[in-house]
């Protein structure tokens, strides 16, 4: 397994992506003519992070934790309720139409489902050339097909298959086509929303390795979303754990995998099978009780308290901030953040 340290970017580099206090609330409305608001789904509720050139941030969380909503805001498909997203120092929420279009060359997305992310009625060539048609000044039309074939080669597909339709490819190959399309405008950031979870396990590693190769080749920065920690470990420099619209713990590879301090991260980790049986403390499996609360009505105080085995009085009254606490070396949103030492099971 590659150690993340080798790939890490120069720490001094300016961030390509700066996200501050990002919030997305979907209002719950009723009535057709006279819409009234009945509260809101707090899909994303105060997320901040920086991403440096060539760096990978893994974002991990259960279904419904707001990962896709975060991704859509990052690439400008959804406007945030509040907060800011800066790409190369420019806030994308304040751009005019032209500026917004220009921004799309810098940040692109890879979708989860390779079966729905390619238009079934377009050939692979048309799909990969679409970015050039939209941004007509990038490449003269005579050079587009040649460039599309180069891109197919870059992602490990046969350039002669340019006239085929998506249904003639396997899931893994389709995902490569999606990657080629995302690379066409030479972005500096790729947001990957669970890019391998729809693929066979045997193919997952191939696609992840391709992403790692492309990152080295083009200096790409990734926001890599997944719902389980084992997938992101291989590719991430840093990992953030997401729960009910918030980051509850952020840290480097080792900080999260070996010294998780938030009970939720510990629970997620305990579900990950040990990659090496020797050399790691054997973990006890932590089974979380109860369901994820509705993001329309999150618990007061700490959002994890309804399922936390360490919850105390303070957890329901005080919202724990995501900060570094004594006894730990990385930010965690728990009043009782701790090292990995006493991972106890639920009472």
């Amino acid at each position: 397994m590659t150690q993340s340290g080798e790939r890490g970017p120069a720490p001094s580099a300016e961030p390509v992506l700066e996200v501050r206090d990002l919030v997305k609330h979907y209002p719950i409305t009723r009535g057709i003519l006279f819409q009234r608001s009945y509260g809101a789904v707090q899909a994303v509720d105060g997320v901040s992070f920086d991403l440096r050139p060539g760096e990978t941030l893994g974002v991990v969380g259960e279904s419904g934790s707001g990962k896709s909503t975060l991704a859509k805001m990052l690439i400008g498909l959804e406007g945030p309720t509040s907060g800011s997203i800066k790409v190369h120092g420019k806030d994308i929420t304040e751009l005019d139409r032209r500026g917004a279009k220009r921004m799309r060359r810098d940040i692109q997305m890879i979708f989860q489902d390779p079966y729905t992310s390619l238009n079934p009625r377009m050939t692979v060539g048309d799909i990969i050339c679409e970015p050039f048609e939209i941004h007509g000044d990038v490449l003269p039309s005579s050079e587009r097909r040649g460039r599309a074939q180069e891109l197919l080669e870059v992602v490990g597909l046969n350039p002669e298959h340019i006239n085929r339709y998506p249904h003639q490819f396997s899931g893994g190959q389709r995902q490569r086509i999606g990657i080629a399309r995302a690379l066409a405008l030479r972005p500096s950031i790729l947001v990957c929303d669970e890019p391998v979870s729809a693929l066979d396990v045997s193919i997952q590693a191939q696609v992840i390795n391709l992403l790692i190769k492309l990152q080295k080749e083009f200096g790409l920065a990734y926001v890599f979303i997944a719902h389980d920690l084992s997938v992101v470990r291989h590719i991430s420099d840093r990992v953030s754990v997401m729960y009910l619209g918030r980051f509850v713990e952020s840290g480097t590879d080792t900080e999260i995998y070996d010294h998780a301090s938030h009970p939720y991260s510990q629970a997620l980790l305990s579900a990950v099978p040990n990659p090496t049986p020797v050399g790691r403390e054997s973990r006890q499996r932590i089974l979380l009780s109860g369901d994820v609360p509705s993001p329309a009505d999150p618990p007061s105080g700490c959002r994890f308290r309804t399922r936390c085995w360490k919850a105390e009085e303070i957890c329901s009254t005080d919202d724990p901030e995501l900060t570094v606490r004594p006894g730990s070396d990385h930010p965690s949103a728990c009043h009782f953040a701790e090292g990995p030492l006493e991972v106890g099971g639920p009472r």
Binding site: I32, K72, I75, G76, L77, A100, K101, R104, Q108, M109, F111, Q112, D113, T116, S117, L118, N119, R121, T123, E130, P131, E133, I134, H135, G156, L157, N158, N163, R164, Y165, Q168, F169, S170, G172, Q173, G178, R181, L185, I203, Q206
Partner: protein
Amino acid sequence: MSEQLAQVSTSTRPRGLWDDAWDELKGRPIFWISSVLILLFILMAAFPTLFTRVDPHVADLSRSMEEPSAEHWFGLDRQGRDVFARTIHGARASIIVGLAATLVTTLIGGLLGILAAYLGGWADTLISRLGEILLGLPFVLGAIIILTTFAGAQSGAGPALVITLVVGTLTLLSWPLVARIARSAAYSVKHADYVQAARALGAGPFRIMFRHLLPNVMAPVIVYGSLMVATFISAEATLSFLGVGLRPPVVSWGVAISEAGDYIRQAFFLTAFPTAFLCVTVLAFVMLGDAIRDALDPKLR
């Protein structure tokens, strides 16, 4: 790469929905029979003189309602005009009304349906409600009201104007059906990841609607449209028969049937020939529509 080898076996020629549908159509006798008939009728509409030299307007009152003979195959009508010539020349009105109304209806309905799906919100509500109101009107009644209001007022209207009015009326009353089909087909892919991907690339509304939503709308609208031609041709005949559609001096099957209606017992042939032509035309379009639907439907899911 192992994945890559896995599928080299599939055909190397690119194949899409339309290729498959064409392959399917080619093998159907019904498709060829109806196509030949329709081509024949279109030829009749475009060049009636290929089929008859007789002027359909020349009247010889002394030979009113003469039975079919070697000289006049379909006989003569009440004013002593050649029924064969009038039936051949009558194809034009039916074909023009059927094709023009279908074309305009699918274009307008398709466009409004895609717009409703794409824009959503109040535009969607407006288009959908308006359509429901129009569909709530009984078709023939609606057409009679519109045509008597507009065409009735100007009895001196020329044939071109009357045909335009009939086409306009049929379109006005039918676009909501197409819009509904187009809307649901467009809506089903509006939130598809590939549309999101196009938006993420910076695609504008036109590209999204015409490059990504429209192709999905084409197949169901074409299927519906091909069946609609027959409906419009019979609707034209119905309206002309009722005296609110085309009327003399325009030569049309509906007009002929209407004129002959009063003498159906004395001179059955006057009604029989234009009716037979009308039925065969309608049937040909229904068969073609069916064949197209069968060829496209499996891919419509």
